[in-house]
């Protein structure tokens, strides 16, 4: 059965700290991995990773994918209280029917203290 596992489940840090969030996956037919930030209801898109070893960066956030070891990490440097959220990763999996689906991980709940 396809699954995506994130660690840690929750994390409390102080402003200015750097955090690394982990996402491992076991998906039969893997195409790409996505990271989302969820603050209230709707997840907002952060990154999509399709190739191994190529870092994607957006401000203080960066992410990389390792398709050999089947994992991805999301780094946040110089954390701020506004980074407090649940961070979700999802594996994009094409299906034989020609459609596709996304398998979500359990999420990491990050709290940044002032």
């Amino acid at each position: 059965e396809d699954k995506v596992v994130q660690s840690p489940l929750s994390l409390v840090v102080h402003e200015g700290d750097t955090v690394t969030l982990n996402c491992s996956y076991e998906v039969t037919n893997f195409r790409s991995l996505l990271w989302y930030k969820q603050e209230k209801k709707a997840p907002t898109f952060l990154f999509m990773l399709t190739s191994s070893g190529i870092e994607k960066k957006s401000g203080r956030l960066s992410s990389i994918l390792d398709k050999k070891e089947l994992f991805s990490i999301l780094n946040i440097t110089a954390t701020q209280t506004g980074d407090s959220a649940v961070y979700l990763c999802a594996a994009h999996s094409p299906l034989p029917s020609g459609t596709y689906k996304y398998i979500f991980g359990t999420g990491t709940r990050l709290k940044v203290l002032a």
Partner: protein, 114 residues
């Protein structure tokens, strides 16, 4: 990107009743997804709705409980039928404009069943 609206944004319902959630997209999309997020949990895919065909349900979800309509390429509804307190969740619709693009989420519907 796609702009998605959902109605209602929240509701409180009595057990045994049904609620229909609407999802509207500002552009034509092939695939629409319905997710459930129970308190403290990650996103669980309920079904995938393609225009012009029956929805495809994930294991553990059935059409009698969660009937879905997809009358055109910009609109879908999910009905939660014969509700019980266990159906209290956030329900999210999302769209995937294409196989290689990310998916975008609607603002979600927060449902409480008493």
């Amino acid at each position: 990107s796609a702009v998605i609206s959902q109605k209602p944004s929240r509701d409180i319902c009595q057990r045994g009743t049904s609620l229909t959630i609407q999802c509207q997209v500002d552009s034509q999309v092939t695939m629409m997804f319905w997710y459930r997020q129970q308190p403290g949990q990650s996103l669980t895919l309920i079904a995938t709705a393609n225009q012009g065909s029956e929805a495809t349900y994930e294991s553990g979800f059935v059409i009698d409980k969660f009937p879905i309509s997809r009358p055109n390429l910009t609109f879908s509804t999910l009905t939660v039928s014969n509700m019980s307190p266990e159906d209290s969740s956030i329900y999210l619709c999302s769209v995937g404009p294409g196989g290689w693009e990310t998916q975008y989420f609607g603002p979600g519907t927060r449902l409480l069943v008493l």
